[in-house]
């Protein structure tokens, strides 16, 4: 078996998530009733037997550190390898690197030391359940220098204008990478190459003063490099804005999306909280919703997602909303098209109404 190491680069992620990322980075945004975005990437890596994972973080990483701990939830608390969370503490006086390359330069020891032949580099914003060993197999079979992962989406949504698009030839060799509007082949910000090749590219990119390895070193060299496109065909979402967050969250209420993302053979793991099973009171009414452990529901909940330990009072009505961990909704409150960040409390009789395109977002720990 070929050994792969993982790098999750949270720097330079596209963030239009407003209130949701006031106090956290994109990777730490809560998603799907009990996860954070980064859980999907980490779990995909674990499911591919990747047990050395570095996380490049630049800012707002407090809640990320709290969430990841020593990586125990993903079995990453290892004697050898495991989880390396690498925030910026850079003191090299000879450092001339820029942008994303600063992470590579200052954490080059991780890449040197890690026992792996290949490195897969990705971010946290593309939600998927992908078999990374299969990506590597195709990479080796096609003798490519770099393999990039893409999704051919059925429908283009506003968020896709922020992603690179791939143009491929008949053998799935990448011939062009740009932002072409009508192209449905979405680059998933995930590429794999040999560790030795990566070390060379890092060195070259720093010498040339590049600030992004993929954009500045790989994309301009598509004619001389063999860059292969690996098509991912499973459930996929790119989350960068409140609107894309809301719409893609709501998709999970469909069986197909839920089953595509949460597979028994390739589970998505997250930190456990030891909550009680969800408790439904005698007069609760719940339809078409996703409900996490620890919730205590007395009121009406429809087309909504409730994270862990949400309390819904009697007569409260929650519709088309996302309610994050430990929120308390007092009796007779009405919420429609609302996103409540963690630990909000909504007082009795309060009415909050947003729209599908513009959900009403309440920042963490507000009392309304």
């Amino acid at each position: 078996m070929n050994r792969i190491a993982g790098i999750i680069n949270l720097d330079q992620e596209i963030d239009n998530m407003n209130e949701l990322t006031y106090f956290r980075c994109t990777g730490a945004v809560p998603f799907a009733a009990r996860y954070r975005l980064i859980d999907f990437t980490i779990s995909n890596m674990i499911n591919a037997n990747i047990d050395s994972i570095a996380i490049f973080a630049r800012k707002k990483y407090r809640s990320l550190l709290d969430h990841l701990e020593q990586g125990k939830a993903w079995d990453l608390d290892r004697q050898h390898g495991g989880l390396f969370i690498l925030p910026p503490d850079w003191n090299d006086p000879t450092d001339i690197s820029k942008g994303e390359l600063q992470h590579f330069h200052n954490n080059i020891d991780f890449i040197h030391r890690v026992q792996a032949d290949y490195i897969i580099i990705t971010g946290s914003q593309h939600i998927c359940n992908i078999d990374m060993q299969d990506v590597l197999e195709e990479h080796i079979a096609t003798k490519a220098d770099v393999t990039v992962v893409y999704k051919n989406v059925d429908q283009l949504h506003p968020e896709h204008q922020f992603t690179n698009k791939l143009t491929l030839d008949n053998n799935n060799r990448v011939v062009e990478i740009d932002y072409e509007k009508e192209n449905t082949q979405i680059y998933m910000n995930m590429y794999i190459m040999k560790k030795t090749a990566l070390l060379n590219w890092i060195e070259l990119s720093i010498e040339k003063g590049y600030s992004n390895l993929f954009n500045d070193a790989i994309i301009p060299n598509l004619s001389s490099l063999h860059v292969h496109g690996y098509e991912y065909s499973g459930t996929h979402a790119f989350i960068h804005s409140v609107e894309s967050y809301y719409r893609n969250s709501m998709c999970l209420l469909n069986d197909d999306s839920y089953d595509g993302l949460f597979q028994t053979e390739a589970p998505i793991l997250t930190k456990l909280k030891n909550e009680v099973p969800a408790t439904y009171a005698k007069n609760s009414f719940v339809r078409r919703s996703m409900v996490a452990n620890g919730c205590h529901i007395h009121g009406d909940v429809q087309n909504s997602i409730l994270f862990r330990s949400v309390k819904v009072g009697e007569g409260a009505k929650i519709e088309d909303s996302i309610i994050m961990q430990r929120c308390e909704i007092a009796p007779d409150a009405v919420l429609k098209h609302v996103i409540l960040d963690k630990e909000c409390s909504i007082s009795s009789g309060q009415v909050l109404i947003g729209t599908k395109e513009n959900p009403f977002v309440v920042a963490k720990r507000q009392r309304l």
């Binding site: 799907a32 009733a33 009990r34 125990k72 939830a73 209420l253 069986d255 839920y258 993302l261 949460f262 589970p267 998505i268 793991l269 997250t270 456990l272 030891n274 009680v276 099973p277 969800a278 408790t279 439904y280 009171a281 005698k282 007069n283 609760s284 009414f285 719940v286 339809r287 078409r288 919703s289 996703m290 409900v291 996490a292 452990n293 620890g294 205590h296 997602i305 409730l306």
Partner: protein, 387 residues
Amino acid sequence: MKKKECVAMILAGGQGTRLQSLTYDIAKPAVFYGGKYRIIDFTLSNCTNSGIDTVGVLTQYEPHVLNDYIGIGSAWDLDRNFGGVSLLPPYMQSKGGDWYKGTADAIYQNIKYLDYYQPEHVLILSGDHIYKMDYARMLEFHQSSQADATISVIKVPLDEANRFGIMDTDEVGRIVDFEEKPSNPKNNLASMGVYIFRYDVLKDYLLSDASDPQSSHDFGKDIIPTMLKDEKQLMSYTFDGYWKDVGTIQSLWQANMDLLEDTTQLDLHEHTWRIYSNNPSLPAQLIGKSATVKNALIGEKCHIYGEVDHSVLFYGVDVAKDAVITDSIIMPNVSIGQGVRIHRAIVMEGSIIKDNSVIGNLSDDEEISVYVGSNKNKDPHYVTMMK
């Protein structure tokens, strides 16, 4: 050499024959309870929450599920450098080996384990009771009353007292007499099977009990009566709260249903006294657009399209459209087909229930049915009924 103030020993080796098919291939403490727990979670969590970090779990009957479940004890924060949880099955010594012949014999055979930690006190617990109890309080009481042994008791209705071991106490709580299932109980203080002994005293009694061929090697029948006869200082410690011995199908069913009461005495939501458990990491449950869920506890990764009323569903249960579940307990990873009707039943782990089946007696509100749908070693679709 470091010492421990108090070491807990959990008796978890019993078969629990009265639970019938529920303990066909697992030990009683490993039986599921409350939508995500196994019974032993309560005792283990009580230890952790009481600050007791050295726990021996005595196993004998069908230990594999229990072994795997407890592991190194991380779920209960019992993975410690010194102490932590140890699984203690019977073992061979140079002079041979034997099964655990009784509760006292099980502790006697592990005197070496206790000696290693040199505890001042030993807490003896059963792994098959549902309750939240602060053993630290009981230990303080035991120490301040300078008792050789302290027995935790709970008040039971006098007309039910003949089902328990009953303590007769004086005005300061000193135990003057002990009667096992008395026909004319003089008191209503029932033993909960929770004991704290001074270890040096206990060790003496265990050694002499082991050499007595007449003894049944049981705490309630042998050790406690002998200590009383010797006029040792035996104190009763009254526990006030929810406590249930889930030894029968009826009591296990009832203890689950107790969780659905508005005013349940057993508050699992209490964050200062969490009940920890070792569960798989699963996605949130999905309640479908045709579902009705009322008065229920529902675990993770359940997919519900039918009707659930006054029931407890463990994780990974699928309920198809038009299925109706009432007054029942559905254990993990059960698949329930369309139009199925389940009433007053316990459905065992992994069962697959075909469309339009009926489980339980719909016209009876006394019976509890047990449905075993996927036991590898047993005839599938095996149903027992009992009053």
